[in-house]
């Protein structure tokens, strides 16, 4: 079988692979990724739900809280252990996690995630002008 325009195709493929694999080449030889050290709350040892659950599902939980509290008007959440919390990012989550930059942002920056919550919700350490 004849490969028509073979020269152009092979050249294009080489350029594409070069660009595609560039990040790997850039990081070759550097240390492996280390999970960031988060500043944990001093007073509380237990979060609303377990650490594993929060790690994977905290955004889903916040979305549910948002709709239950705002649209349905019911603001108290009973977790899987029977403890009651108010469903509020600013009044519950951020009361323990008192610094967004030292807790939330650490993982979010590494994962390149920019949730738009903070366009409206006020982080506990306050806003700079």
């Amino acid at each position: 079988m004849k490969l028509y325009n073979g020269g152009k195709i092979i050249t294009g493929l080489v350029i594409f692979l070069g660009i595609f694999l560039a990040p790997l080449a850039y990081n070759a030889g550097k240390a492996a990724y280390i999970q960031p050290k988060l500043k944990m709350p001093e007073n509380e040892k237990e979060c609303v739900e377990s650490k594993e659950f929060m790690r994977t599902k905290h955004m889903q939980l916040l979305d549910q809280w948002r709709d239950w509290a705002l649209r349905d008007g019911q603001r108290m959440y009973v977790n899987s252990k029977g403890k009651v919390f108010e469903m509020s990012l600013q009044k519950t989550c951020m009361k323990c996690h008192t610094n967004k930059a030292e807790f939330c942002d650490k993982c979010h920056n590494d994962a390149s995630v920019t949730p738009y919550c903070w366009d409206c919700h006020v982080q506990p350490e306050g806003l700079k002008k």
Binding site: R71, R75, Y77, C120, L127
Partner: protein, 257 residues
């Protein structure tokens, strides 16, 4: 099977669609969480929240500004100069507030100002026109705003006959004292409509609305459907008017003039 390009594309498309549906189904399930939700024991409940304003006791710019400051501070409402401003509660003259033009008014009313806010109408046109249900009617009669869903089309602002709604033309945080924010309540961002929310977040914990608390009894908040409530008592004993009643929106704010 017929190994034509067409059949290959059909097969590939079906596979892709199937994979999408499967993964979407997985994403929708949230497990491992408690799912009981309930109210705070202290919550204030009603079938139809309403407000009676004794306009004889709040008739100057100073007294009404006290109410507005309490409301705006509690809700991080920015103070924007000019015509793209935001206000949840403000002062207006009799001509501006009510549709009862009178060419020879008594001097008292002529000089009075009146506190205006969202009327939380029973038959709210803003709720009727919102294309996303970002503004919606709660079971307790409050017309609520969901800032997460609002697309900023401003149809509700065109629909409101009372001019009660404001739009965030710019970033509100540019006009807020960032050191004096109420850290328990969010701000909004540019591109959404906002208005008085009858302090639903305070009612949920047994507190009266901010303006009612600041009014020293001039504003009374209660359940219109409960004949024994304070608001019904006031409505039985005093002559009250509402704004533009002929439009049939059934506003929930009454003025004792």
């Amino acid at each position: 099977m017929n190994h034509t390009r067409r059949n290959f594309l059909k097969f590939a498309g079906l596979t892709a669609a199937g994979l999408c549906v499967a993964s979407a189904g997985g994403a929708l399930a949230v497990s491992g969480a408690g799912s009981a939700i309930r109210d705070d024991e202290k919550i204030l409940k009603a079938k139809r929240w309403a407000m009676v304003i004794d306009a004889k006791r709040v008739r100057t710019k100073e007294t009404i500004d006290t109410l507005a400051k309490a409301c705006h501070a509690a809700h991080n409402v920015p103070d924007i100069p000019g015509k793209q401003n935001i206000k949840w509660l403000w002062a207006a003259s009799f001509e501006e507030a009510f549709d009862q033009p009178n060419n020879y008014m008594d001097e008292g009313l002529e000089k009075s100002l009146f506190p205006l806010l969202c009327n939380h109408c029973t038959n709210a046109p803003c709720v009727r026109v919102c294309p996303t249900k970002a503004t919606y009617k709660r079971a307790d009669g409050i017309v609520a705003m969901d800032y997460h869903r609002c697309i900023g089309c401003r149809y509700c602002m065109a629909g409101c006959p009372f001019g009660a709604r404001s739009f965030n033309f710019m970033e509100p945080r540019l006009h807020l004292d960032l050191a004096a924010l109420n850290k328990e309540f969010p701000t909004r961002m540019r591109g959404v409509v906002e208005k008085c929310n009858f302090c639903v977040e305070r009612l949920a914990h047994g507190k009266q609305p901010a303006c009612v608390e600041a009014s020293q009894g001039a504003l009374v908040f209660g359940d219109l459907s409960d004949p024994a409530s304070e608001v019904r008592k006031l409505l039985r004993e005093h002559y009250t008017i509402r704004r533009k009643p002929s439009l049939g929106t059934e506003p929930g704010v009454y003025y004792i003039i």
